[in-house]
Amino acid sequence: MWRERTQLGSIRPVYEREGYDTASQQSVRCSNNKGSTVKKVFPLIALLLAFAMIAAACGGSGTTETTAAEGTTAAVSDQPTEIDMWIAFSDEARFNFTRDKAAAFNAKHPEYNVVVNSFDSYNTVFEQAVLAVDQGNAPAIIHFFEAATRQALDAVDSAGNPIFKSVTDAIGGRTEILGEPVILDDVVSAAKNYYTVNGSFYSMPWNTSSAIMFSNMDMLKKAGVDEPPATWAEVDAACEKVMAMDGAPKACITWPNHSWFVEQSLGQQGELLANNDNGRSGRATEVFLDSPGIINYIGWWKDLADKGYYLYTGQQRDWDGTSNAFQAQQVAMLVYSSSDTTALTQAGVDNGFEVKASFMPYNQDVPYEGNLIGGATLWMLDGLDKTTEDGALAFMNFFSNPENAAEWHKITGYIPITNAAEKLLEEEGWYQESPNSKVASDQLNAAKDTPATRGAILGNFVSIRDVITIAIEDILTNDLDVATRMADANVEANKLLQEYEALYGG
């Protein structure tokens, strides 16, 4: 080894080699010079050092903890009660709205301090909340999407007690809490129908939307289509015209490959996603992913894609990519969540085209039953002390009071969650000013109240939604037979649901 290194050194400048050699020789000499005593003592010193370091590290952390604990106990009397809130919105408009309302509440009730934490998606906040609950440091208010309803209801801590408390029970018939009027009785029927479990609200409704369609009217009119198409057949006809015209866009229509649109279509066609009335008259134990409604819808979807009318961005749940394509005028129509009505309408103004919102296109061959909601609610942790619980309840009611709910609707496009908010907007003349904003509420009001339009509540819904979107992606990109592929997906989804029921059910 030595010899080889010296040889290598020969191609390097002389001073480097000398430096290298001297250093090594010195170190050798050092170890030779150190007597036998040093040899014996050295390991002991090392040992002592190691222990000292461990002791220091452990002792250090211990001290910090004590100080922190002392700090909180001492300050309890003059510091406001903290209420943590986790939400799934990280975009400027929605996160800032929440933070501003929290600040307004804190100013109004100085004994409380509502702290808003944001996560980048429903899935993330859900995962993080499940982990936090598991570790026992969950926040007082958690923002869960509709697909997590069953799992939130079933969630128990390690002692087997439910994690979340019914807000109806917690309110206990009061009409106002800490001076904030309770809005729960005034919630619009579509949201009430979805979120009512065993006869009452378990969680506090907040952002509620529906799937609607946005059309680039300039493009449609150029192609000779005067009104947004209402049915699947009309979409086909309009797309034929759009794609045939000069300067045709990249594709005619797009929407995210998200299971929510499949669920919406099932509601329209009056079919159930799961047994026991979509899991509402009893726990859902079976899903129907190979039902005629699903096969019809995905079949129509694939047909559009095969003809080059539908633009697939190549990603599941691609809200950004599809919205960008519409804004960049690469497609004439976009089926999307009403949550972005304001932003999409404004995007049309900014890019110089007229955006018109309309109902989500439906299957003309079966009677139309109605669309369902989407969105999320606020869940309150069980086992909070009375002060914190009342603060959380007061905040959630304040957060969706008529003024705030109306403002939230204007910023986003989520429906006004209470009748009072809707009335307020009407009085202000908002709907004349922005007719697109009325479409989602109108669509939900047009729906019949049946198990199909109430939407499904079932366990492992997030994974089952994954099974659906994976199957659709497979069908769209690999040109598979819809019925066969969905039959496979059905087996897979039912296995997931049965496993969930084995772990959580009765």
Partner: protein, 460 residues
């Protein structure tokens, strides 16, 4: 139960035979120890699982998996026994390179090294071995994140990844192993340089390929409630091999160019190493911004300058895989360049000079001297790059394709996180990570057996 006892008896017999073959002293005591160790090793695994695989309703697939587990346990026991016997026989080479250190000190007793090692060992036990053991335990249970209960499911979460045919499940790996050992046996019997030796080398390469084909054949193609694991396996092989090949070849090429004495060489070298400091997630975002069909820079330039519309890489399986390979290889490039630059400094210049004098071309010098001198580094990089390709590409994939199109870029680690974390299916996630763990051990052993032999660490 009969099958279990038969398995233990076979393991004991195998243990005795193995001990008699590999030991100098064939005493009765040793044979009994060998048999006992093998029997205990074989029983340990099934015992931890409450012998579930031998319950009446279990299938042949469960028995096969249980036997595999038993064979592994017996083999591990025998390796331990063998090293013990070898030490007794004085066959272990005491010159383990520590002679100088031993001479210099550490005469304080056998426990001193253990005490000094204890902080590291503690960390390993708490943060590595315990979670690893828990992963094994989880993989045999049906459970979800924060679920109130867990249901033991034996090998179900493994068998659903495999084909539902016990005969083929045994036959394919067995044939591949036979081929592998046969070709190696043949190679040892032939004289180096002869034609038959060349042929045996070709056979040995084919045998290695046959292992991959056998694995392809035993993973489930999906359908009927089974997990569609075959495509995941194929994606993992393609994408990992692509990353390692591109990353290492590119790294060596760039390092070789940057090593030459050029103006501003230090700057080039620093710039080349820089991608290593970027996290896989950022690499994903960067390539997404380059390649995205609607918002990407490359697509925009192609359209502006040449009027070409760039295809959407996320819609085509091969393009998507290529994009992942490119992004991941680019990210590891800096690391490879760093090591190759260091390695190039150890290339013996006198040999190169001699080769120049003998009239060797630049390619010949590179092939026969530089590459040979770099073989230890190459081997090291092969192991680290493969680990990277197996374990660290998740973020890149998540940002670029999310496994699209239709799962064509969903590699093993991506599936594990998607199932175990995103879907909260801890048991299945654990089962798949055990599989990945076995795969990594397998690949590493294979590397040591094949590349390891050709690595030259120089003389002296």
């Amino acid at each position: 139960m009969v099958l279990l006892i038969a398995g233990i008896v076979i393991a004991a017999l195998g243990g005795a035979i193995y001990t008699s073959w590999h030991s100098d002293r064939r005493t009765a005591r040793r044979l009994i120890i060998g048999a006992g160790v093998a029997a205990v090793g074989a029983t340990a695994g099934p015992a931890l699982m409450n012998f579930c695989a031998f319950e009446p309703e279990r299938t042949a697939i469960d028995h096969i998996l249980a036997y595999t587990l038993m064979a592994t346990g017996a083999w591990l026991g025998l390796i331990a026994a063998k090293s013990f016997f070898d030490r007794q026989d004085g066959k272990v080479d005491d010159d383990d390179g520590l002679g100088e250190i031993k001479a210099a000190g550490f005469r304080l007793g056998w426990w001193v090294p253990w005490v000094l090692l204890s902080p590291t060992l503690l960390i390993l036990v708490v943060f590595l071995y315990t979670p690893a053991f828990q992963t094994f335990a989880l993989s045999t249970k049906l459970t979800r994140l924060a679920a109130p209960r867990a249901i033991p499911v034996c090998f179900d979460q493994f068998s659903e990844l495999l084909i539902d045919d016990p005969v083929r499940l045994v036959a394919y790996p067995f044939l591949a192993a036979l081929f592998l050992y046969g070709s190696r046996f043949w190679a040892r019997r032939t004289r180096p340089g002869s034609i038959s030796h060349r042929l045996s080398e070709v056979a040995s390469v084919l045998a290695s390929a046959s292992v991959f084909i056998a694995l392809y054949a035993i993973f489930s193609p999906g359908g009927g409630g089974a997990v569609k694991y075959r495509p995941v396996y194929v994606n993992t092989v393609i994408i990992s091999a692509g990353i390692v090949a591109l990353g290492m070849a590119g790294g060596l090429a760039l390092a070789y160019l940057a090593f030459r004495k050029i103006r501003g060489g230090t700057i080039y070298r620093t710039m080349l190493i820089w991608p290593y400091a970027i996290s896989p997630a950022v690499a994903g975002i960067l390539f997404f911004m380059l390649l995205d069909p609607t918002a990407g820079i490359i697509g925009h330039l192609l359209k502006e300058w040449f009027g070409i519309t760039m295809p959407n890489y996320r819609e085509h399986a091969y393009l998507a895989q290529l994009a992942i390979i490119a992004a991941s290889a680019w990210k590891i490039l800096g690391y490879n360049i760093l090591f190759y630059l260091a390695g190039l400094q150890t290339v013996p210049m006198d040999q190169i000079e001699a080769a120049v004098l003998d009239g060797a071309s630049a390619w010949q010098r590179f092939r026969h001297i530089v590459l040979a001198a770099l073989s230890p580094i190459t081997f090291f990089l092969l192991v680290t790059n493969l680990t990277y390709a197996f374990f660290e590409v998740f973020a890149t994939i998540d940002y670029m394709t999310k496994g699209a199109p239709a799962g064509a870029t969903s590699v093993s680690i991506y599936e594990i996180i998607r199932i175990g974390v995103d879907n909260g299916d801890l048991g299945r996630g654990a089962a798949q990570s055990v599989l990945l763990f076995i795969a990594v051990i397998g690949v590493t052993v294979w590397q040591f057996k094949t590349s390891g032999r050709r690595v030259s660490y120089g003389g002296g």
